[in-house]
């Protein structure tokens, strides 16, 4: 499975220009909308909406396909297993012993799969269009305490490093005779201790040095903090945010008061 350390794709598009806070809130509301709606037609509309956001963001076809095929196995499994466990309504399409498959339950399964797809694409829409630095900054502006934002930024910066370290240690241990592809499942898995122990110890050493570095830069000094990258909401951002909130509010009202979308 291809592992990318950063999902961000650099493009010029209205979506890319949006303030990360708007995108964070938008993705969140998008996922919530998918959760409160169960009707497959409504979910299809949401799906179309989120795909069009990706299109406006000029996400290329290979990237879209990566997102799609990551979720595909889950979708298939949900749709396949749902009718086996939830048997509701008519007409019954197929019946054999304890297995009763009805049309409504197949549709419900497909709706559940579609819901997962909507949620996944909401996340992708956010992550394909927002660089990590802005994401963290957005979270901190949305009231995540600064220290957690710093911790998160450090983590994101070090993930590729640790990717390299894990591979390097695997090589080093292989040179010392570790055979990671031999043996049954249990043996193979337990052998990974020989990789994980050095990685953890390396991590602890790095953390020690890093904490010195942080302290030596006067972290925690009682001065008002300034930032290199800061976020400003433009008119377009405010407009987009309003549209999102109003649309979501409308959906909630329609769902709760009028029972639409059930």
């Amino acid at each position: 499975m291809s592992m990318r350390f950063d999902l961000y794709i650099e493009r010029e598009s209205p979506i890319h220009r949006l303030d990360p806070r708007v995108k964070l809130i938008g993705a969140g509301l998008g996922m919530l909308s998918a959760v409160i709606v169960s009707n497959i037609a409504f979910l299809a509309v949401l799906y179309a909406l989120v795909i069009s956001v990706l299109a406006v963001a000029r996400v290329s076809w290979p990237k879209f396909w990566f997102a799609f095929r990551t979720i595909l196995p889950v979708s298939i499994m949900i749709t396949a297993l749902w009718p086996l466990f939830y048997r509701t309504g008519m007409p019954v399409l197929f019946s054999w012993g304890p297995i009763i498959i009805t049309l409504p339950s197949i549709i419900a399964g497909a709706a559940a799969a579609l819901r997962i797809n909507v949620m996944a694409f909401c996340a992708f829409a956010l992550l394909y269009t927002t660089p990590q630095g802005k994401l963290v900054r957005g979270l901190v502006r949305l009231k995540l305490p600064y220290e957690y934002g710093l911790s998160l930024a450090i983590a994101l910066r070090y993930i590729p490093t640790f990717g390299g370290i894990v591979l390097m240690i695997m090589d080093a241990q292989k040179a010392r005779g570790l055979e990671l592809d031999k043996g049954n499942f249990m043996r193979k898995t337990l052998k990974y201790v020989y990789v994980m122990a050095p990685v953890v110890i390396t991590a602890l050493r790095m953390a020690d040095q890093l904490s010195l570095a942080i302290e030596s830069r006067a972290y925690g000094a009682p001065v008002k903090r300034t930032y290199i990258t800061d976020l400003k909401m433009r008119v377009a951002d405010g407009f987009a945010l309003t549209v999102l909130v109003v649309a979501f509010g409308g959906l909630v009202v329609a769902r709760l008061l009028y029972g639409l979308g059930a």
Binding site: A112, L150, I159
Partner: protein, 203 residues
């Protein structure tokens, strides 16, 4: 309740451990094309983080690290729930097992394992349907927590011997009230999520 906030030591430790957890979760994974798509040894890291660093940092490293791994592997929509569930797993492992004798460590990882299994099952049932939830529970998840527990118990002893300096790190002890509050909060949030799903007509 004793909280000195996050000093440089905590920030560095949590940042690095988050990164190590995420990297290991992503790299040491066997594709298993159901549900979240991969059998991985992330749980070993989550439990180890708890045992090694205490409840708070263990919860942060385990939860955030696993959530980031989810995001980078394409399952970003699951990240908030993974954050909660794996965070609790690390938190409980640390709460019961950190700085205590071996039997307490075992109890800690078992508690973490139960939290992970229950948590994922209760969130996946409304989202994926009970069939898929059972499928994942009985295959990948149970394997992950079993191996995770065993491996983390091995690792904690190895690391303590090899790097005694880490034992000089004792986080401010989590007071019982705080711990209970966290567990209760997590249970409430998860039940709210599940209840929310159910009342909206899913599952």
């Amino acid at each position: 309740m004793q909280r000195k906030g996050m000093g440089p030591r905590e920030i560095a430790l949590s940042g690095i451990m988050i990164a190590a957890t995420a990297a290991l979760t992503m790299l040491i994974s066997v594709p298993f094309p159901l549900t979240r798509g991969y059998f991985n040894l992330g749980d070993a890291m989550v439990m180890l983080a708890g045992l090694l660093l205490g409840a708070r940092l263990g919860g942060i490293a385990g939860g955030v690290g696993s959530a980031i791994a989810d995001v980078l592997l394409g399952f970003g929509y699951f990240a908030p729930m993974t954050l909660l569930i794996k965070g609790t797993e690390g938190f409980l492992a640390g709460l019961i097992g950190h700085n205590r004798k071996f039997p307490a460590k075992v109890a800690g990882v078992i508690a973490g394992a139960i939290a992970m299994l229950l948590g994922y099952f209760s969130v996946e049932t409304p989202l994926y349907g009970v069939g898929a939830a059972i499928a994942e529970l009985s295959t990948i998840n149970i394997l992950q927590v079993t191996f995770g527990a065993v491996i983390s118990l091995i690792l904690i002893q190895v690391v303590q011997k090899a790097y005694p300096a880490i034992m000089a790190y004792s986080p401010p002890p989590v007071s019982t009230k705080y711990a209970v509050a966290v567990v209760v909060a997590v249970v409430i949030v998860l039940s709210a999520i599940v209840g929310f799903y159910v009342t909206q007509g899913i599952g």
